[in-house]
Amino acid sequence: MNIVMRELFTSKFLTVNATFVRPLPSSYRGVLKEPCGTYGEIGGHGVGLFVAGVQPCLVIDGQAFDWDLHQSRVSWQQQGEKRTLEIIDIRPNGIEFRVNYIVTDVPVNISWPETEEDVDFGLWLSNVINSPERRQVLINNNQSRISKT
């Protein structure tokens, strides 16, 4: 399945060819035709976050799965310059993804007070998926995209 996603904080759109590790409910299908997520590169791996209907999903190197509050976990850690992103899904056909990476960019405060997550996609992903408010913003934005189309 091709999913159109936006590259992190840019206006570039990418089409990611992804395979769902387990079938999604039929209600989620048919809403993935429009750009519906954000994609970034971490340590040589392509990681994306998108919403199918009202369900946040993650895609890692072409493998997509729906994110579950109780059975999936996204965590981010930093030790010195080394940063670690860990994505685990404990369901059957689950995912265990761990990547170490280094960020060279620094946040700039020219017109907006940027933070680390503006230059670190892993941190942004972890913050968005683990925050109920931001998850809701993500879902609402997707809903408004669908209603516009």
């Binding site: 020219i110 017109s111 007070p113 931001r134």
Partner: protein
């Protein structure tokens, strides 16, 4: 003469109780020889006549509140016509040979064909009469707020033109049973609620007005020569002192000069000195203010008494049992109170004249710099007004006396905040302190050196004056030097946090506040980018377009849809200051490389 109940309430004739009205109706039918047509006396009337207390209004009666501003007395008694009643009415019309009844009644029309249908006021009067007749006036419950409000109004308002009155029966029948009216629901008065667009429109209108009057007010284009002071011609009087030297007069010929090489140097605030400032002067002012407060209280008390007596007279007019002697007494009381009011007004005018002659203006604020005095800090002089500032002054005097440091406080410890009256008249003291405290007034200056203190004043100023003070403040505060731009921008951005709190306190939703904050933030961006040198500005635009897809920086939509930020995060971010000028230079250097180096050097933006 045609008389209806609705009209009788509005005309001079006193309203009738239900019983009186039932009797009048009986007499009317009897005189017309139409007793057969007279409806049966309702159970309620019968109960009413028998029971010690009048029965409460029927639950099916819809009472419309009097308090609605567009309502009228006639709208207060309406009875929806029940289906059975309509049927009976139709039957009567069909079977009657002597009278012609309407063949149909619209359901949306209401009919008042029952003597038990009384207006609230009618009912209150009937109740009053009943208790009075029973000698139980002490047991009578006090009038409700609505009744009181009705009685206080000078006259019941006339029916609205959109209310139509329809005769139900023959034209010779003018009893109260014969009118019905269609009631069109009055639209609810518009509720004032937070509206982002209206908020912006208001602010914009105010800014426009300000700009129109800019020639006469403070700001970049202020011309001191056009605004001579009353003390022109005196030593150090009538002129604006240059930005590096300040002269404070202590009265009695002394003055205190702060020269350009002292600690105030970095604050290019000019000060208007107040001629003749002395302790006696301040004491006199304080006395005047206190006298004025006491007089004000006395005047409002008198006004309240007058209102009470007028109210009593009005009630007396409605009371058929009221005595003339009592009325006469009330009128005499009213005349006396009015005479007192006139005397108080005279006294006030006298005091006001004295106040004006005292040399202080209401726009002058005196306080202590750096929060030297706890009272000043607590009261935040600007917000509370001159009175508290003067109190602080006096308190400091006492402390000085106790400490044995002399009679007068040193003027080094005191700040005199003064702003041109025509400039701040509309915005009161809070705005003056806000402006003077936070930044620099090029004319008529002020200084409250501690930022925290100024913020406190700003907060109060926003609360005390309109929201646009905030915007005004921004408008005034464009510094002329590029070196100050970034710092000033950051200060203003930080100030948005106060405004956001204010809006949230007013009941605005997070979403609305986030939108407003982001718009204001972008507005600040426009203001400061306009003041930025064009060569540097172009690079900032390029950076913003590349990073945020908008040359002025991120929009609300971008932040929400791309960064997936919540409203709370947007509010927080919009009021968070950015890096220093040097940090900005570093960021631009990293993004654009060597090509921007000459510009960064030119504006000293490299470490």
């Amino acid at each position: 003469m045609t008389t209806t109940r609705g009209q009788s309430n509005q005309a001079s004739a006193p309203p009738m109780s239900r019983v009186e009205w039932a009797i009048a109706r009986y007499n009317w039918y009897s005189a017309c020889g139409l007793l057969d047509d007279l409806p049966q006396q309702t159970t309620e009337v019968a109960n009413y006549q028998r029971s010690p207390d009048p029965p409460p209004p029927k639950p099916h009666l819809k009472w419309y509140p009097l308090s609605k501003p567009d309502d009228d007395i006639a709208a207060t008694y309406q009875q929806p016509v029940a289906a059975t009643q309509r049927h009976r009415y139709s039957q009567q019309a069909a079977n009657s040979h002597r009278r012609t009844f309407p063949t149909r009644v619209h359901t949306e029309k209401v009919l008042n064909d029952d003597s038990s249908t009384m207006s609230r006021v009618d009912w209150a009067i009937a109740r009053y009469n009943w208790y009075r007749a029973c000698g139980l006036l002490d047991d009578l419950a006090p009038p409700t707020a609505e009744t009181t409000r009705y009685q206080r109004s000078p006259e019941p308002p006339p029916p609205k033109p959109h209310l139509k009155w329809y005769p139900l029966s023959k034209s010779d029948d003018d009893t109260a049973t014969t009118y019905q009216r269609s009631v069109i629901e009055s639209p609810q008065p518009p509720q004032r609620r937070y509206c982002q667009r209206a908020e912006h429109a208001r602010a914009l209108a105010m800014l426009t007005r300000y700009q129109a009057a800019k020639g006469a007010g403070p700001g970049r284009n202020f011309d001191p020569a056009k605004h001579p002071r009353a003390d022109a011609g005196q030593p150090n009087g009538g002129q604006f002192i240059d930005s590096n030297t300040r002269v404070f007069r202590t009265g009695e010929g002394k003055h205190f000069v702060v020269s350009s090489d002292d600690k105030w140097r970095h604050k290019p605030t000019a000060g208007l000195h107040i001629p003749g400032l002395s302790h006696e002067h301040v004491e006199k002012f304080l006395d005047l203010v206190e006298q004025g407060s006491a007089l004000r209280e006395e005047m409002s008390e008198n006004d309240r008494k007058i209102a009470e007596v007028e109210d009593a007279i009005r009630r007396h007019g409605w009371n058929p049992f009221g005595s003339k002697a009592h009325l006469k007494k009330l009128k005499a009381q009213l005349a006396e109170l009015e005479r007192d009011g006139v005397a108080l007004q005279r006294e006030w005018a006298k005091l006001e004249a004295e106040y004006k002659q005292s040399g202080f203006h209401e726009h002058e604020v005196t306080g202590y710099r750096s929060g030297a005095n706890a009272e000043y800090q607590q009261d935040s002089t600007g917000g509370k007004g001159f009175k508290n500032a003067v109190r602080a002054y006096r308190k400091s005097q006492e402390e000085d006396l106790r400490g044995g440091q002399g009679v007068e406080p040193t003027y080094d410890e005191m700040a005199i905040i003064s702003a041109p009256a025509d400039a701040v008249a509309a915005y009161r003291l809070g705005a003056a302190v806000l402006r003077g405290g936070y930044h620099v007034a090029r004319q008529g200056g002020a200084y409250v050196l501690r930022k925290s203190l100024a913020r406190q004043a700003a907060r109060i100023a926003i609360g005390k004056t309109d929201d646009f003070v905030h915007l005004f403040w921004n408008k005034w505060r464009i510094p002329s030097k590029v070196a100050d731009l970034r710092a000033a921008y950051n200060e203003e951005v930080e100030g948005l946090a106060e405004y956001a709190k204010h809006l949230l306190g007013q009941g605005a939703s997070e979403h609305e506040v986030a939108l407003t904050m982001q718009e204001l933030r972008r507005g600040l961006g426009v203001k400061y980018k306009d003041a930025t040198p064009p060569d540097l500005r172009e690079y900032i635009y390029k950076f913003n377009e590349a990073r945020y897809e908008d040359k002025l920086g991120p929009t609300y939509k971008w932040l929400s849809e791309v960064k997936e930020l919540s409203d709370a995060q947007i509010i927080k971010g919009a009021s968070k200051s950015l890096g220093t000028k040097q940090e900005l230079g570093q960021a631009l250097l990293k993004h654009f490389g060597e090509e921007i180096m000459p510009i960064l050097k030119k504006y000293d933006m490299l470490n």
